[in-house]
């Protein structure tokens, strides 16, 4: 399937999706499809991707803070059995005061660790995520602080608590100062 055929097939089902095809200047030209879709239609589009190629390989979620909204771009590699594959990037976004996106880990299970990563770093809440635990940040990291948001102020001294270090516990028990 060529990128144009693929774009037409998506366009027929999702009229409001923005689709553009880029080409790089390598010795062997390589085209990539960039799709932008609203978060209401996003899950339906992912289902269509799975229908078109059930063996599509999911690669990465690129999530970003763009001022008043949070964006997430998902990369898929499709038709890899047929030699030259199709590189598809599907982007969606949510407003910053309502940071909710639907989870797609029920369609592509390999997205789960990436969703957990974005949930803790950018504060996008994934609706219906089966495993909302933290992956990278420590368990005693303060709630409501998202390190990769651009307006992040960091951890204030009041938030720093005893992390359970044995020496600190001993000091508190004995009442040792400094």
């Amino acid at each position: 399937m060529t990128p144009e055929e693929f774009a037409e097939r998506i366009k027929a089902k999702f009229e409001d999706a923005e689709i553009k095809i880029t080409e790089n200047k390598l010795p062997h030209p390589r085209r990539r499809i960039w799709i932008e879709v609203s978060r209401e239609k996003f899950k339906d589009l992912v289902k269509v991707l799975k229908e078109i190629d059930p063996t599509a390989q999911f690669s990465i979620i690129i999530a970003e803070d763009r001022g008043d909204k949070l964006t997430a771009k998902y990369h898929w590699e499709m038709f890899w059995e047929q030699g030259e594959s199709l590189s598809v990037v599907v982007g969606t976004s949510c407003p910053k005061d309502d940071p909710v996106l639907p989870t797609i880990s029920d369609i592509f299970p390999s997205t789960l660790p990436y969703e957990r990563e974005i949930q803790e770093f950018l504060g996008i809440k994934y609706e219906g995520i089966p495993d909302p635990r933290r992956l990278f940040l420590p368990d005693d990291f303060p709630e409501g602080i998202y390190p990769l948001r651009l307006d992040e102020t960091g951890i204030t001294p009041e938030m720093v608590k005893n992390a359970g270090h044995p020496y600190r516990v001993w000091k508190e028990k004995k009442g040792v100062k400094k």
Binding site: T22, N24, K25, L26, P27, H28, R30, R32, T55, Q57, F58, S59, I60, I62, E64, K73, H75, E77, W80, E81, G83, E84, S85, S87, V89, F108, P109, S110, L112, P113, L135, F136, L137, P138, P147, L148
Partner: protein
């Protein structure tokens, strides 16, 4: 159900080990000898590179990208450079593309030889470890000759490469390939394809079926060992790779069957050693003369990229699997507005965690080592008895003892000592 729970034992493996560039914690739940659940916890070495990159310019990020990993040190800045070139529409000279292929394949040879040694060590074949690492010195010397360093050779620049391959490098590389074909590869094949003990130990351990590998997006030799014919160099039509006849290597060409176990992953690595040498020979043969950089001076790159706007994705097949980098540029900025990368160990870890379910504890070192994050040199293991709450700490040596004991049951002649050698993926 309730009676059963009392006999379950939870074993966290990790996270702190000085020899890992990416400390990971595997919390393994055991029912007797069988593993019934594996949970992964990451982030013990989070360096905040994406945040640092927002404060640097385009060329400084190139060197930051190289510091992600010591072994894949060419892969990461290669991929980053490709992402920037795609974003800004920079055309790379053809000679530079060939030099990128040659250095990338030399790196693949040394990484695969390292991993073959590590896997041999985890099953008690220490002689194989020392010999394969000795053979690896030869390719490291050549990389040092070309780049000036054994690791982090900083070969890439946006729009080309920084160092040329001269006539004496060409001769040294061809000598090295001759030595590998005559001396090293027959011995490697004898151990990893035909040795009965190795086959008995590696067959049917850590099996990832094809369906699971697709579901968990396994990459690189882990995926190809399960029969997924996927290679970014081939699928992406990367650089000049299509002119060099690159094809995904699967174990079917060597053994006739695909099972997706540790043995198959090792067979893929042996096959890729052959393939890499062939690609290097062809690349040296076809390499045209010409310039190696699109920009004669480095500050011209920042000048051009300051006006650029858009986003680009770079992908490359590192020795362990697909590396993917994303950059976004805003006009008027010296550096990337967003830089995001993913290395192949991340999806492979979750795939192997799934594959370990149903295996024995003795297979944990070899199964995790086979995806090449080298967790076999686990520093310590805490065994928590769920019933009494008692804790006992196992070191790396104890875990290796388990593994070597299993090999000795198959072949009593093994005289390996479970020693901690501090296998380092981290060379910084």
């Amino acid at each position: 159900m309730n009676n059963k729970v009392e006999y379950w034992v939870k074993i966290p493996i990790g996270p702190i080990h000085p020899a890992l560039e990416e400390p990971e914690k595997f919390i393994i739940t055991l029912d007797g000898e069988r593993i019934i659940n594996v949970d992964v916890k990451l982030g013990y070495n989070l360096r905040g590179l994406e945040w640092i990159a927002m404060r640097r310019n385009w060329i400084q990020v190139l060197y930051l990208a190289e510091r992600i990993c010591g072994i894949c040190s060419f892969s990461h800045n290669h991929t980053y450079a490709r992402a920037v070139e795609e974003m800004a529409g920079i055309k790379v000279p053809e000679r530079a593309e060939y030099i990128r292929v040659i250095i990338g394949e030399l790196e693949r040879i040394h990484s695969h030889l390292l991993n073959l040694g590590v896997v041999a060590h985890t099953i008690g074949y220490d002689t194989v470890l020392h010999l394969s690492w000795l053979a690896r010195e030869k390719v490291m010397d050549i990389l040092e000759d070309i780049g000036g360093n054994r690791v982090n050779y900083a070969g890439n620049m946006i729009g080309g490469v920084r160092r040329d391959i001269k006539e004496r490098h060409k001769r040294a590389i061809l000598d090295m390939i001759y030595y590998y074909r005559q001396e090293v590869m027959p011995k490697v094949e004898e151990v990893f394809l035909y040795d009965p003990t190795v086959e008995a130990r590696l067959r049917d351990s850590g099996v990832i079926p094809k369906r699971i590998a697709i579901e968990y997006s396994a990459q690189g030799p882990t995926a190809r060992g399960s029969g997924i014919k996927k290679d970014v160099r081939y699928n992406e039509k990367l650089g000049v790779y299509p002119d060099l006849g690159v094809k995904p290597v699967t174990p079917k060409e060597f053994t006739g069957v695909i099972k997706g176990d540790v043995f198959d992953r090792m067979v893929v690595r042996v096959g890729e050693l052959w393939q890499s040498m062939e690609i290097i020979e062809r690349a040296l043969d076809q390499m045209p003369e010409g310039k190696i950089k699109a920009f004669p001076k480095d500050n011209m790159i920042i000048f051009k990229l300051k006006k650029a706007e858009g986003e680009g994705i770079g992908r490359y097949e590192a020795p362990r699997g697909e590396v993917i980098h994303y950059v976004r540029a805003e006009p008027g900025r010296d550096g990337p507005a967003k830089w995001k990368m993913r290395e192949p160990t991340f999806p492979n870890l979750f795939a192997v965690a799934r594959a370990l379910v149903g295996e024995q504890l003795a297979d944990v070192p070899v199964a995790i080592a086979s995806i090449d994050p080298c967790l076999s040199c686990t520093d310590r293991v805490v065994v928590i008895d769920a019933e009494t709450g008692k804790m006992r700490i196992l070191t790396e040596v104890d875990l290796l003892k388990e593994s070597i004991k299993k090999t000795k049951e198959i072949n009593p002649n093994i005289k390996a000592k479970p020693e901690r050698i501090g296998i380092g993926r981290c060379v910084l």
